[in-house]
């Protein structure tokens, strides 16, 4: 798991973020075909983004996001260029993947 790529851009007071998490996002049905065990399915269950300790994005997800899912979201507030967007995702197996990007 190689983590999350985060790109953030500040324009007109709004920060637009594009993030890609590297994850297989296998569904129950896929794993049943592959290994015979539905329980082998693994996907991101929860992903969130924080800037300066403030949560700006928070999403609970299911297995139906695409493989290596892309998230685009926006937020505004008292943020400036150079602030770091930290993203954390937790998958079904309990692994944590992280990524960060500077607001440009």
């Amino acid at each position: 798991m190689a983590g999350i790529k985060v790109k953030a851009k500040l324009k007109g007071g709004v920060v637009k973020v594009k993030a890609m998490a590297k994850h297989e996002m296998s569904t129950y049905n896929m794993m049943e075909k592959k290994t015979g065990n539905r329980d082998d399915a693994n996907f991101i269950e929860h992903i969130s983004a924080t800037v300066n300790g403030e949560t700006v994005f928070d999403m609970s997800t299911s297995q139906f996001l695409s493989k290596n899912p892309i998230f685009k979201f926006q937020f505004k507030g008292d943020f400036k260029k150079g602030d770091k967007v930290m993203m954390v995702a937790t998958d079904r197996k309990g692994n944590t993947i992280k990524g960060k990007g500077k607001i440009k």
């Binding site: 949560t55 994005f57 609970s60 299911s62 297995q63 139906f64 996001l65 493989k67 937020f75």
Partner: protein, 159 residues
């Protein structure tokens, strides 16, 4: 009773200490597990919000490049990664995405924060043609929704 409350508070504090990311926002997989196993959109919406009364206005939805109000049927060339854009100007508490093509219905639930500009884009998988439903829970407690039906040329879920 006091002892029980004490335990709850302590356990809660411990849980928060272990998972700092979930301090503010709700993890809907833990708080509403029934949502993620529901097999129909109606069941999932009911499990999440306790109601299925949807007002179809105020929500923008664009799947595979076709806006929901264009009157055209969207066609996704690959079911493995269908771009879905959605947003709303309504002051929202949560936004949820469902579809009716896969074994379970729920795709994601977003808790809007005070910083959120509610305009998102994600990529989802769909095994066969179906309808995507985006539900916005407004701060007024009402549910707003938009639906888009789309064709999937190549299913992406069974891979």
């Amino acid at each position: 009773m006091e002892r029980r409350q004490f335990l709850n508070v302590t356990l809660g504090a411990l849980a928060l200490a272990v998972v700092p990311a979930s301090v503010k926002a709700e993890d809907f997989r833990k708080s509403k597990p029934a949502v993620w196993t529901a097999h129909t959109v109606d069941d999932a919406i009911k499990a999440l919000y306790g109601s299925t009364t949807l007002i179809e206005e105020g929500v923008q939805l664009k799947a595979a490049g076709e806006s929901f109000d264009s009157g055209k049927k969207a066609v996704a060339s690959s079911g493995g990664a269908i771009p879905v854009e959605f947003g709303t100007k309504i002051a929202a508490k949560t936004i949820a995405v469902f579809q009716d093509a896969n074994p379970e219905s729920a795709v994601c639930v977003i808790s809007a924060t005070k910083y959120s500009v509610n305009d998102y884009s994600i990529k989802i998988k769909m095994g066969k043609p179906g309808t995507i439903t985006v539900v916005v829970e407004g701060e007024d407690g009402k549910l707003y929704a938009a639906k888009q039906t789309l064709d999937v040329a190549l299913g992406g879920c069974e891979g």
